[in-house]
Symmetry: C2
Subunit: 566 residues, 2 copies
């Protein structure tokens, strides 16, 4: 999802900005006033042509992680009877310096999102260049041509403190702005489908009155056809399938809206194999999404406390999880890792909290576990930094100025997605403590959250403000060559379960680093044998949630360190 | 499991008591001093005879929910090579007034536990009377004959306050007493397998030193062969299978103990289909059990807060759960019901808390979610009473003196097991508020926790002390005929998902009660159509976690109540 509204844009995005620079460095001039008219003419012509082919016009607002893929999926769908395309998609994005480049990208048939899924690039190329069912545009006026508007505008939760969710607010301004723009432009019979994860009550208490008032001002008496349906998108190898071939939940503000959303989703998604769940009211669908993600967050926070228990009491939580997972009722128990990132889990529960406060009647003490869970998950990375200090101290080295390599910047394994990753917290804390932090990640070219908050402000609320002295952070560049990243480091933190980290050889590591080092394993990547070998080599090892490490060290005992194998 | 130690026994269990009365009313005189010698002679002869057949002697201590079934399973097992029984079991129970009757019961081939599982009765009959591989005894001296001792003595957590777990303690005295008795009697090469769910650290920090010291006093230098393995027993239709045909986790204090426990469990359980997990240390196995049950408790408490959210905001949580469950990562999401009972979930997390305090270093603020979860689960029943009051008030009736029927006393559906059931809390609260409470349960003859704490103290720590004025509670008798139980009631609380409650007809209910009534549905038993019909009939309806009920009422609207169908 992406920001569309005008509210929280940084300074460089107004007046001064005239170009948008894509990640590859190409510069795209922002459109000027006369171009808007030409663009609307282009869209009108397209719409007329497509309508003549019997196709519905679908405007997808927001070309971010969800919108870009949803636009492709809708454009790629076919009419069940004719087997031919039944929708024409206009993917719409306000022309900000930060993201205007996505529009020309899309119109060249190039996906504006990085993806490990091999389906993404061909789908965008196919729909734009071959099927010609997808175009991208920068003008809100596209809305006036729509039969369906799909809203994929983001709604963040801004946290004012680290680990204290009750201080913060839902950043709903961009979304409200979108509703206004929609209300001002759409045809009264247009279906407005909100896909954004929103505070429960948003569709009925925010979107509905905004649209209704906008309609009134235009002299329209029609009831807005508003619906909510949430995606369950998952970055990675099955990114497209997670949008298209997965169960959906939907609802509408009225029977008419409900029928429209059911019909639309049935046209574009694989509802045969993954049947729709239709709920009575949008607040049910909105809450459903918040619950399912909070569920996951709560499970992880619960495991965090047992991870600490394990660490302190000689227990290997990894082995316990394997033992527990065999139970059919416990298959989803999982290791919490160094932090719970991604776009959804760190915030969705907070949207429930905010809804209680602003839409559903102020009740401060509600959702205690949901709230505690996010607080725990948001701060777990700090504990990893503690372990790194402890391990370095065990080797007689201070953390201050120590060269430390953090392996893995993503929030989950084998994707290049750094949103709210646990690693960010580890890096920021270690920098605060004076360490010389380096980062390796085989799936990333840039770690936007660190490199420049100026340039990429909406990639995530910056967490730099929770830390002292973060100048060093912006200078960090992600390295992709592990041997050179390792050279001379005194500590390595294995922070993500990326495939290349799964079977690291202790001897090799020590050889690359040039000397025994402190190893912090956040994900049970080191086997017991590997850990023993690390100790033999004179390394110090700490493992998140694995207290048996000290026992392994004692077993290696007083033996003198053996030299690393050549 | 069952109490064995001498500590927390009620007054009637000493001096004065000479008989033990079984649930059916038969009286069994407690054994007197001379009988102990005769009993030991009997056991010695049996042991010699059985050893001659090449069988190991297994003493199972505690003939409660786990011990009785474990004794049967071991006695029923066969040697993999010969196909013949390889174990002879002595099921041991200290002769208290409360439970001595279980010994003669067993020796007649009758199971001392009520069970819905059709395997239980034949297994006990077969092993005692046909295979003759199981006998029951009241003397600790059986321990001296054992090759293996399986400890199934209970370890409760006593709560000093309702909804505040930090005030309480693990009631570990009986277990400690058992360890002493074992240390004084067993042969040094006897394997002691603790199956009880215990505070993590118990095997190493409590059992081991007790046995070691007892050995020393006997002049033995051997290392006690101590192991821990927990069951995952589940009352109901698959009670025996839940002990025998399910994954097990085990561990030993030493390599020798580990080998012994692996060999023993491999002999008696279905480890081919359900492989053993062998962990390094008993604290890992002990913690594993506590985590897996706390996991479930935490999930339920998490859902409790969203259930309240749903109730207050017009949301039907039942439908949301159906929508969420389709996700493979969320299949175990579940509705919390009116309380989380059973022997394990309300206490296991507390054992972790207690271990932190007494065995693993005092750290007061640990395990916050685990702790909060039990507190939430322990008090959820109170909210059901609130709903009942609300519904009665909606009909212009005070709760005081109102005849209210609670349908379902068990802690889960289709079993007759009332341990820590949510219904108990509902009943106690309503009695406190002056209601005239009746109870129906098709699976129960007695609700021991209510009927007499004097007679059945160890069926569960009484929760009566958390409530005002509980005299009325002891007079409550469980009724098994629903129509007569319904006669004249003003409110019905559907508290358990027992099969007979799954499709109750509103017209029938009102007819039986004689007038429109307040209906409180704690488990989504009433369909939307049924709820609408209830409103049409002039009933008031409240549903746990289902806020859409008010919407259904409004839909029925101002329509005058229609008379119940004849």
């Amino acid at each position: 999802m992406d920001s569309v509204g005008s509210n929280p844009q940084p300074a460089h995005d107004v007046a001064a900005a005239t170009v948008s620079v894509c990640p590859a460095g190409e510069r795209f001039p922002l459109p000027q006033a006369p171009e808007y008219e030409r663009e609307l003419d282009r869209l009108r012509a397209l719409a007329a042509e497509q309508r003549a082919l019997g196709r519905e016009i679908v405007v997808v607002m927001g070309v971010g992680f969800v919108g870009a893929i949803m636009a492709g999926v809708v454009a790629d769908s076919t009419d069940r009877r004719t087997g031919k395309p039944g929708k024409f998609v206009m993917a719409m994005q306000r022309p900000s310096a930060r993201s205007f480049w996505k529009i020309p990208y899309l119109n060249r048939g190039v996906a504006p999102v990085q993806a490990e899924d091999p389906e993404v690039a061909p789908m965008i190329r196919r729909t734009v260049l071959e099927k010609r069912t997808l175009t991208a545009t920068f003008t809100y006026d596209a809305l006036s041509l729509a039969d369906v508007v799909v809203v994929d505008v983001q709604c963040d939760y801004v946290k004012d403190a680290l680990g204290d969710l009750r201080h913060g607010h839902a950043d709903i301004a961009a979304l409200e702005e979108s509703f206004t723009v929609i209300g001002e432009r759409i045809q009264p019979r247009c279906l407005v489908l909100i896909e954004t994860t929103v505070p429960p009550g948003t569709t009925e208490h925010i979107a509905y009155p905004v649209l209704k008032r906008a309609f009134s001002e235009r002299g329209l008496t029609a009831e807005p056809l508003l619906a909510h349906s949430y995606e369950r998108v998952m970055p990675g190898r099955h990114y497209v399938a997670s949008v298209r071939d997965f169960w959906r939940v939907c609802s509408g503000v009225s029977e008419a809206a409900r029928q429209r959303v059911v019909a639309f989703l049935s046209d574009v998604l694989n509802v045969g194999q993954y049947p729709l769940t239709v709920l009575d009211r949008p607040i049910e669908s909105e809450t459903c999404k918040v619950i399912e993600n909070s569920y996951r967050a709560a499970i992880l926070a619960f495991m965090d406390e047992w991870s600490l228990f394990a660490e302190r009491n000689g227990i290997d939580l990894m082995k316990l999880i394997q033992a527990i997972k065999v139970r059919p009722t416990h298959t989803n128990i999982l290791f919490p890792g160094p932090g719970i990132g991604g776009y959804c889990l760190p915030k969705d529960g907070a949207l429930g909290l905010w809804a209680y406060r602003h839409l559903l009647g102020f009740e401060e003490e509600q959702l205690p576990i949901t709230t505690a869970a996010i607080n725990v998950n948001d701060t777990r990375g700090l504990h990893v930094a503690d372990l790194a200090c402890e391990a370095l101290e065990g080797m007689g080295r201070p953390v201050a100025d120590a060269p430390i390599l953090v392996c893995g910047a993503s929030y989950r394994e084998d994707v290049g997605d750094t949103r709210y990753s646990g690693s960010e917290l580890i890096v920021r804390r270690l920098v605060e403590l004076g360490a010389d932090v380096r980062v390796h990640d085989p799936y990333l070219e840039h770690w936007y959250e660190l490199e420049s908050q100026e340039e990429y402000p909406a990639k995530g609320q910056s967490r730099s403000r929770f830390f002292r002295k973060q100048e060093g952070v912006t200078r960090i560049r992600v390295q992709r060559d592990l041997p050179s990243a390792l050279r001379g480091v005194q500590a390595v933190i294995l922070a993500v379960r990326h495939a290349p980290y799964l079977s690291l050889d202790p001897d090799w590591l020590v050889r690359q680093a040039g000397a025994p080092l402190a190893l912090i394993d956040c994900f049970g990547l080191l086997s017991d044998d590997a850990i023993r070998r690390c100790f033999e080599l004179g390394c110090e090892v700490r493992c998140l949630g694995r207290g048996h490490v000290q026992r392994l060290k004692e077993a290696v005992g007083g033996r003198r360190p053996r030299p690393a194998a050549e």
